[in-house]
């Protein structure tokens, strides 16, 4: 073996790159290894159809931590996060529900559906603001282990406990409800407008194999309120150049701090000697040595694939084996000759703003729950929940002038489809998506120049994410905080000394936050390599 690195990072997804950048910034010699020809993992932009660029898998930037943007000077490396202004939900009766950027406009819109809900909406927002603040410290905190007696854990728990007591009874109750109820039930307590509840609850099921009536989904509603606490003002944004541009910016920052990034360099095995990681073996057989090895892959691959069975304690192995992935979503990317016209808003709204925001296909709670019913029994949704954006309307550079790209996030498309995914099933799934959009936007099909359908199996095959779960492990409550990915091992360390985890499969979990990558780097630096 030639050079011995301070740290080798396995996987060039955004979290792996964030860890690499922070470690390099601290003066460590760092090598990041990516199996694919380009960095990004699930956050890549590719020109699949000439002139049309697609964010292949992930599509919006949720909560990319502002401190990461500042610390790594990402705008200088090309990062620009653009606001996604609005959400319009077309209804099956030709009406619609819109949430606009302006508060008064949104209020008036909601009033059209229910004067009562229009008022409740503000109160709900006020409460959610407090809830988000209650939960927020957890995001930037290394999760304490409640069963540990280590002073650090005790202190952190004490701080959290104090923090929660400070909320007062009413808010504490709301927090418990949020952590336990289904999003539909939680929203039932607030609103009467079905389409409003459907659209809000739909955001609570993204990346899970749960329906809006499944307990525990209410928690995810909070994520939407988290962003505004960070001076982001909007929780959701779109990165100029697509999510691949986020990865490229982080990679560029990492390189500027001296990190080495190698693509086409898949890792087949982590070398472990006497319970301590010492390096990696590449798929081509090369061995590379490092004082610390960090995996940004999901927990299944981090532990069950890259290590030998004997490297880990049995109970830990069975915990990881139980860790749920259950990819449940697909993606349809479409190149468009022109923008589709939605029946509910033929003129595209004032200033054509419909297409500048998200279009949510969640016309009723029943619609979304029925979409889940299909998946529960092993089928893709015949009429799925969809979150549609037109990236070329936000960043015109995504398509040739005057043409457009359309990104459709689709749920549900179960990884474990009855009879398994085949090319024919993939196309049938694509047809279901296109037909559903067509029902809300007649003439849509005739505008399609090219379509790419991505199933969970495709996500797994291309990015490696187990079972195609975009969050590298289901974002269910029993897999969050100190339980992510396994009790006792949520703090980025692993049972193997000098082997760390930094991906979305660790606290605080998925989305393009980069938080786990940053926290892992902090932990590694604190432990000293």
């Amino acid at each position: 073996m030639a050079k011995r690195y301070d740290a080798i990072i396995i996987g060039g997804g955004h979290n792996g790159l964030v860890t690499a950048a922070y470690l390099a910034r601290a003066g460590k010699s760092v090598l990041a290894l990516e199996r694919r020809p380009r960095v990004g993992g699930a956050a890549v932009t590719e020109e699949i159809f000439p002139g049309f660029k697609f964010t292949m898998f992930s599509y919006v930037v949720s909560l990319l931590r502002p401190e990461i943007i500042r610390d790594l000077d990402l705008p200088r490396h090309g990062l620009h996060i653009l606001p996604l202004e609005s959400t319009v939900t077309p209804m099956e009766n030709g009406n619609y529900l819109a949430a606009w950027a302006d508060h008064d406009e949104t209020r008036r819109e909601l009033y059209r559906h229910s004067p009562r809900d229009a008022e409740a909406y503000d109160e709900y927002g006020h409460l959610m603001h407090f809830m988000a603040r209650a939960v927020k410290p957890i995001l930037s905190m290394v999760p304490p282990d409640p069963t540990s007696f280590a002073p650090g854990d005790l202190f952190a728990l004490l701080k959290l406990g104090k923090h929660f007591r400070g909320l007062g009874a009413e808010r504490l109750h709301a927090l418990v409800k949020l952590m336990t109820m289904s999003s539909a039930d939680f929203l039932d307590e607030w609103f009467e407008t079905d389409v409003l509840k459907a659209t809000k609850s739909a955001s609570g099921i993204i990346g899970t194999f749960l329906g809006p009536r499944s307990p525990g989904t209410a928690y995810v509603l909070l994520h939407h309120y988290m962003g505004e606490l960070d001076g982001v003002f909007r929780a959701w944004g779109f990165a100029k150049g697509g999510t691949g541009a986020v990865s490229e910016a982080i990679a560029s920052a990492a390189r500027s701090f001296g990190a080495e990034i190698r693509c086409d360099a898949g890792v087949s095995k982590v070398l472990v000697t006497n319970g301590k990681a010492t390096g990696v073996v590449l798929e081509n057989g090369d061995e590379l040595a490092a004082a610390t090895v960090v995996s940004s892959l999901d927990p299944r691959r981090t532990f069950l694939q890259l290590l030998e069975a004997g490297d880990l304690p049995d109970d830990f192995v069975s915990d990881i084996k139980r860790f749920k992935f259950r990819g449940s979503s697909g993606k349809v990317n479409i190149a468009l000759d022109s923008l589709p016209t939605f029946t509910c808003m033929p003129d595209g709204g004032p200033g054509g703003r419909l297409h500048r925001g998200a279009v949510s296909i969640s016309p009723s709670l029943e619609y979304v729950e029925r979409a889940y019913d299909d998946a529960k029994y092993g089928e893709f949704s015949r009429r799925p929940y969809m979150d549609i954006v037109f990236p070329s309307m936000i960043d015109p550079g995504m398509a040739p002038p005057g043409k457009h790209v359309m990104s459709i996030f689709v749920q549900y498309a179960p990884y474990k489809l009855n009879g398994g995914w085949t090319d024919a099933k993939r196309e049938a799934f694509g047809d279901a998506v296109v037909n559903t959009v067509e029902s809300f936007a007649p003439g849509f099909k005739s505008k399609i120049l090219h379509r790419q359908v991505i199933t969970p199996l495709d996500i797994e095959r291309i990015t490696g994410l187990s079972e195609g779960n975009i969050f590298a492990g289901e974002l269910a409550l029993h897999q969050l905080f100190f339980l992510r990915p396994a009790a006792g091992w949520a703090k980025f360390a692993t049972p193997v000394r000098a082997y760390y985890q930094c991906g979305s499969g660790t606290h605080p979990g998925g989305g393009i936050m980069g938080a786990s990558g940053r926290l892992a780097a902090m932990r590694i630096l604190k432990d000293g390599t």
Partner: protein, 399 residues
């Protein structure tokens, strides 16, 4: 409206969703067209924003001695400037105190256009005695739009008949857009790739239409002063009456500044004949200015802490502010060592930034200072770091 509207108003007027207008040199221009300026701001950095900048004061200076006059007035070397060049420059009184800042464009050997923030006709005349020169106020007859952003070049290139690929930063060229004669200068107030298009006021509306039609597939977005204000702070560009006072309006000496004190030392030519303020500026150059104009980044953790003490999440200004805010030394003395004059949140950089005047000894990049922040009616101080300007300087600006 009793104030004047610009030649573009037939188009900009109906675009205003919230009737939010700002006064500028006796005209009204849009603060923002949409209810929030957010999207207009992002257009500057993401695609292309179209600003109506017609209220600028504009003078046409012609004749054998045109260059001589301007060279005598401004601090930069006008006689060295080539045809097609645009100079950004301040001008000073005889004590070297800054009167105004603007641009001087060399249209041809004997024709110059000067823009200014304040009326400058009288000052030019006062300096022109004995010179063979004609000074014409073309403020009302010349309209101007500014097209700023990464896609600005692509749009203008499609709209204009001339090849613009060779048009360098701070250069201009005559051009024709849909049969309309215009002057295109690669200038702006955003620190991004951008152009300004100068046109006869009578042709303003067809020019606007041509640009909007050509630019729509590229995301062209009419934008107002609120968006511009954020971008110009990111770019570290100062604004008269906000970041400094004209020496002609100052009531006391302390309100006046020299170009050296405003970070404009680079605009003071040392290789030219006598000009207004020369002796004083030369002395200041040798002595070094006692004040400096620079950037300040407010530390996020510190800001968050101040609000957390009150049980609040950090509040950020939703618009750029333009008030004077004290800045203190971060030491035992805690003495005031300067003041911020503009500030705001950069949505791009995720950074709370301010433009500050600091005593020179505290102006070194990296110096830790304290900036006053009012939290829940109480005066607090947040840690802040002296940062060289500009905060944001993309390569595309010059490329």
């Amino acid at each position: 409206m009793s104030l004047r509207t610009t030649p573009f108003h037939p188009r900009t007027g109906p675009l205003s969703e919230g009737q939010a207008w700002r006064r500028w040199a006796g005209y009204v221009v849009a603060s923002s067209y949409e209810l929030s300026h957010e999207r207009e701001y992002h257009a500057i950095r993401n695609s292309a924003a179209l600003f109506d900048v017609s209220p600028l004061y504009k003078y046409l200076i012609t004749g054998k001695d045109a260059a001589r006059l301007l060279d005598h007035v401004v601090t930069r070397n006008v006689r060295k400037a080539k045809v097609g060049q645009v100079l950004y420059t301040p001008w000073c009184d005889n004590e070297g105190k800054q009167i105004d800042d603007g641009t001087v464009s060399v249209l041809n050997e004997q024709t110059y256009r000067m823009t200014s923030a304040d009326p400058t006709l009288r000052w030019l005349h006062l300096n022109a005695s004995g010179l063979e020169v004609r000074i014409e106020d073309v403020s009302e007859t010349t309209a101007a739009v500014s097209l700023q952003g990464p896609s600005s070049r692509a749009i203008l290139q499609l709209a204009a008949e001339q090849d613009l690929s060779a048009l360098k930063y701070f250069r201009l060229t005559p051009a024709v857009i849909r049969g309309i004669p215009v002057t295109i200068s690669r200038t702006g107030y955003t620190g991004d790739r951008g152009y300004e298009v100068w046109v006869d006021a009578a042709q303003a509306v067809p020019l606007w239409d041509a640009l909007i039609e050509t630019g729509t597939p590229y995301g062209i977005t009419p934008a107002g002063m609120l968006a511009l204000d954020v971008a110009r702070i990111e770019a570290g560009l100062l604004l008269i009456e906000v970041d400094y006072f004209s020496s002609r309006h100052a009531l006391i000496e302390a309100q006046k500044s020299t170009p050296y004190e405003l970070g404009l030392g680079w605009t003071v030519a040392t290789d030219k004949e006598r000009y207004n303020g020369q002796a004083a500026l030369e002395a200041e150059r040798l002595r070094g200015p006692s004040w400096q104009f620079t950037g300040l980044k407010v530390d996020w953790d510190s800001l968050e802490f101040l609000y957390a003490q009150m049980g609040l999440p950090p509040r950020l200004p939703s618009q750029a502010w333009r008030t004077s805010v004290p800045v203190y030394a971060n030491g035992r003395s805690g003495r005031q060592v300067g003041y911020a004059t503009s500030g705001g949140w950069s949505p791009l950089l995720k950074q709370y930034m301010a433009l500050v005047h600091l005593e020179s000894q505290f102006a070194k990049p990296g110096t830790e200072l304290l900036m006053e922040i009012t939290v829940e009616h109480q005066r607090k101080s947040a840690r802040a770091l002296v940062t060289p300007l500009p905060f944001f300087n993309p390569e595309r600006k010059r490329a």
